[in-house]
């Protein structure tokens, strides 16, 4: 029986490690602020899995308690992070992490994307949603001309 517990632990730890690692890679690789945030959340999940596994292995509630608190912290973090992301977006106009690089040394050249990938045409445009709670002003001329029917 003891052997199974060890195996169970090893499996869970492996899964936890993989999830954590994917989170790290995502955080580093992806340029979109929100995706980076998601990857951070994913790292937390990886850790939670590991904690629960150990909690089970050591027959001790501590692990699960910590996961609860991780979730609590994750919630707070989400709130703050998303608020920040919105502010950054409002300031930068885009969610690109590379936009924010003024904190470099003065004689280090800024990082500029060499070849920006072309906008792929078939990507659909999202509908223009009018600001909530405000009557949409109707643009007669546009009403009559439907460009992309």
């Amino acid at each position: 029986m003891a052997e199974a517990e060890l195996d169970l632990l090893q499996n869970y730890l492996t899964v936890g490690a993989i999830v954590f690692m994917l989170g790290v890679v995502g955080l580093i690789a992806r340029r979109n602020l929100i995706v980076m945030f998601l990857c951070a959340e994913m790292m937390l999940q990886g850790v939670s899995i590991t904690l629960v596994a150990f909690s089970r292995f050591h027959n001790d509630w501590g692990g699960q308690m910590l996961v609860v608190f991780i979730i609590a912290v994750a919630a707070c973090e989400a709130a703050i992070a998303l608020a920040l992301i919105l502010m950054l977006y409002a300031r930068a106009g885009k969610l690109d992490a590379a936009y924010w690089q003024e904190m470099r040394e003065e004689n280090v050249p800024p990082y500029i994307d060499r070849e920006v990938p072309l906008e792929r045409l078939e990507e659909r445009r999202w509908p223009d949603l009018a600001p909530a709670g405000v009557a949409p002003e109707i643009n007669e001329e546009e009403q009559s001309h439907r460009s992309h029917v």
């Binding site: 580093i28 992490a97 990082y111």
Partner: protein
């Protein structure tokens, strides 16, 4: 102070007066004395001169009723300059006083084991040599100061001039009366300083400033040698005082001189009559010979050459003529340049020591003297600047004095000192004459620019003639007696059995040739200045006429001196009180009065000669030794006197033939093949200046710039590069901060990776 004898009081007063006069002029000069700033100096000099004559009289009286010890000397202590106890470690283990040739004076054992102190006090001494020099210096200085009143009265800075003159006389009087080597060295350089200040008196003139610096630096080179000699003396003898002190016997003290004298008297053994080397000589009381002895003498000679402008270091004297003429007369003719001769005369026992395996120092002195005399004589032949001619003639006469000192015999040394005494008079006379000509000609001294001044300036003409005759050595005048004595001394050694007889023979012939040249160039200058068509240069302007009485009176006095001095003092009859008697009373010279002392015998010759002629030798030595009694003239010198007189007259005649009239013949002679080369060399002053410039000055400046470049680039460069290393490393890591958030995350990840990797690696 009160318990001092009159001699000691006089001894202190003579230098004190010029010092006080200098202070007064310096402090009150610029504002109050202005025009009359010469008064304190002249007044001080008058009293000082009187006191020095009184000192001479007191000394004569003291010498008469003085029996004990060798010669007569009294010293007076003023204050302790420096005293370092146990400085001279007289411990027995002084065996390794090595000299450069490795010949260790191994067996120099030191009787008393107590280590003597390095005790230097400011002590003045009065003995024959000092008093003569004091008298000469103060008298000549007085006359020149009076002359200078007239010469310098319209100069704005004359208070500064008289301050320096006062300072100079004080330094010169202290120099001659100093009783230890340190004090001698102190005033040796102080005199050099005064000559620097006086040569560069008109400092606006670029050449004068350069000449002043050159004079001081060449003197400094001489003093470098003199300092090394001092250090050797201290290392070897353990004291630097001339007189005996309770801690250690003086270098020229009675104790050492008496032990030296016993050497002469000791018959048989390794030859009598000569102070043997220091092999078995107790260094505390005897003299050290061998390499060290020679080194000391040569270095002293280097110092003397620096100061008395002898052959290797004579280049500064002709340039020193940039200074005002009274300066040239006082310093560069009469007093300062003779300091070297005085020092060598003072240190005769050091020079008399036997440096067996090496050459005899006195031979070196004589050769340098003879060589300088000859070279200076040749150069003076073709100079067109009257003062430069007189400058080279001074070098030549000083060469004579050194030749006399080099003979090593008492006769020779006293002849040298006597020539020094007479030379002061007629050479300063000639310089003052040149000064009055220059004064009249508005500062022009180039003989080609003026001529025929005999009617214009009769007083200067006649006094200059007297000086010229004295310089050439015509019979009744002073020059004849002193120069003849030197020639006789050299002649004796040349014909005696001394080791360097052949060398001295050549030197005697050179001396005769120089005597002829002296007459030739002196009268060449005389004729070119005072004879021929009367020609006044434009600069003379309206006041080209005889100088005022204040300048001509000293000229007359000096002319009388030139006439009488030789006659009064040179006579054989002037026994003890005569010049020779007083001079011989100096302890360092009196040691030679002993019959056994013979000039210039080296050990080798002595051994072979000893057996054959010991009896005859003793008789003639005794007879020669007692020169003090019979004065300078003996029958054997009659021949030398006649030859020198004939040469002098011949010289004057040829000069007259060549330079009276329009000197066409001279231009012809110059074209002769040999004479052409000789003229070029002589006119170019043997090219010493360019040679020294290339050998010493240029390498010095080159080395300076090399060192400076080395310092700026290598050492400073090294320091700066070390300084730049940290900032370089800092810049390296700076580029990591590229501002991209994810890069930092990546670096962190790599960090975790390496940590974990090392952990796993161990496990693995």
């Amino acid at each position: 102070m009160s318990d001092w004898t009159t001699i000691q009081k006089l001894l202190v007063a003579i230098p004190a007066l010029p010092l006080v006069a200098t202070m007064v002029t310096a402090l009150l000069g610029p504002r109050y004395l202005r025009g009359k700033s010469h008064l304190p100096i002249v007044f001080g000099l008058v009293i000082s001169c009187v006191l020095s004559l009184e000192l001479l009289r007191q000394l004569n009286r003291a010498i008469e009723n003085h029996e004990t010890g060798i010669g007569y000397e009294t010293t007076v202590d003023l204050w302790t300059w420096a005293s370092v106890p146990e400085a001279y470690d007289g411990s027995g283990s002084r065996k390794t006083i090595g000299d450069s040739t490795g010949r260790l004076i191994t067996d120099v054992h030191d009787a008393s084991d107590s280590s003597g102190p390095f005790h230097i006090a400011v002590t003045l001494r009065a003995d024959g040599l000092t008093c003569i020099m004091l008298a000469m210096v103060t008298l000549v200085a007085l006359l020149i100061a009076i002359y200078a009143v007239g010469y310098m009265h319209q100069d704005r800075g004359c208070w500064r001039f008289f301050t320096y003159i006062g300072l100079f006389v004080f330094s010169m009087t202290m120099l001659v009366s100093a009783s230890n080597f340190v004090l001698l060295y102190v005033f040796w350089e102080a005199v050099g300083l005064c000559s620097y200040l006086l040569i560069g008196f008109w400092y606006e003139k670029r050449e004068a400033a350069a000449a002043g610096t050159k004079a001081f630096l060449v003197n400094r080179v001489g003093d470098f040698g003199f300092a090394l000699a001092l250090f050797f003396i201290w290392t070897v003898y353990g004291t630097l005082n001339f007189h005996d002190t309770q801690n250690a016997p003086g270098v020229l003290g009675q104790e050492r001189l008496s032990s030296m004298q016993q050497e002469f008297g000791r018959p048989g053994e390794s030859g009598e009559g000569h102070p043997r080397g220091a092999q078995d000589q107790d260094v505390r009381t005897g003299y050290v010979g061998g390499g060290i002895g020679l080194a000391i003498c040569l270095l002293l000679m280097l110092g003397a050459c620096g100061k008395s402008a002898q052959f290797p270091l004579h280049v500064w004297l002709p340039d020193a003529m940039e200074g005002p003429t009274p300066v040239s007369a006082l310093i560069h003719a009469a007093t300062m340049v003779t300091a070297g001769v005085y020092m060598v005369a003072r240190c005769t026992p050091l020079f008399a020591v036997d440096c067996a395996p090496y050459l005899d120092p006195r031979a070196v002195v004589a050769t340098i003297g003879g060589l300088s005399a000859l070279i200076a004589g040749i150069i003076a032949m073709t100079q067109n600047d009257l003062k430069r001619v007189l400058a080279y003639s001074t070098i030549s006469q000083l060469g004579y004095m050194f030749l006399a000192l080099g003979t090593g015999s008492l006769v020779g040394i006293i002849a040298g000192m006597f020539h020094l005494f007479t030379h002061a008079f007629f050479k300063s006379l000639l310089f003052l004459g040149a000064g009055s000509v220059m004064h009249a000609m508005g500062g022009v001294i180039d003989m080609r620019k003026f001529g025929g001044l005999r009617r214009l300036m009769p007083m200067t003409f006649w006094t200059f003639l007297a000086g010229a005759l004295a310089l050439s050595g015509i019979w009744p005048l002073a020059g004849f007696f002193s120069k003849d004595a030197i020639l006789a001394a050299a002649y004796d050694v040349g014909h005696g059995e001394a080791a360097y007889a052949s060398l001295f023979l050549w030197l005697t012939y050179a001396a005769f040739l120089t005597a002829f040249l002296t007459a030739l160039y002196t009268f060449r200058a005389f004729y070119m200045t005072f004879f021929g068509a009367e020609e006044i240069p434009a600069e003379a302007g309206h006041h080209a006429r005889e100088s005022r009485p204040i300048m001509t009176v000293p000229l007359v006095i000096l002319a009388l001196g030139a006439l009488a001095v030789g006659w009064i003092f040179g006579q054989p009859g002037a026994t003890k009180s005569g010049f020779a008697g007083v001079a011989a009373s100096t302890p360092s010279l009196a040691v030679m009065v002993h019959p056994g002392y013979r000039a210039l015998d080296t050990a080798a010759e002595r051994k072979s000669a000893a057996e054959r002629k010991s009896a005859a030798e003793k008789k003639s030595a005794a007879e020669k030794g007692s020169v003090a009694e019979k004065g300078l003239h003996q029958d054997s010198h009659r021949r030398v006197a006649i030859i020198s007189l004939v040469l002098a007259v011949l010289g004057i005649g040829i000069a007259g033939f060549l330079y009276l009239g329009d000197a066409r013949e001279v231009r012809a002679i110059i074209q002769w093949p040999v004479m052409k080369q000789l003229h070029r060399i002589s006119y170019g002053k043997f090219f010493f200046d360019p040679v020294y410039w290339i050998l010493v000055v240029l390498p010095g400046l080159a080395l300076a710039s090399i060192c400076y470049a080395f310092d700026r680039w290598l050492i400073d460069g090294l320091v700066n590069t070390i300084g730049r290393i940290p900032s370089g490393i800092g810049r390296l890591f700076r580029n990591m901060q590229c501002g991209m958030l994810q890069t930092y995350a990546l670096w962190m990840l790599l960090g975790v990776l390496t940590l974990l990797g090392s952990a796993v690696w161990h496990m693995w």
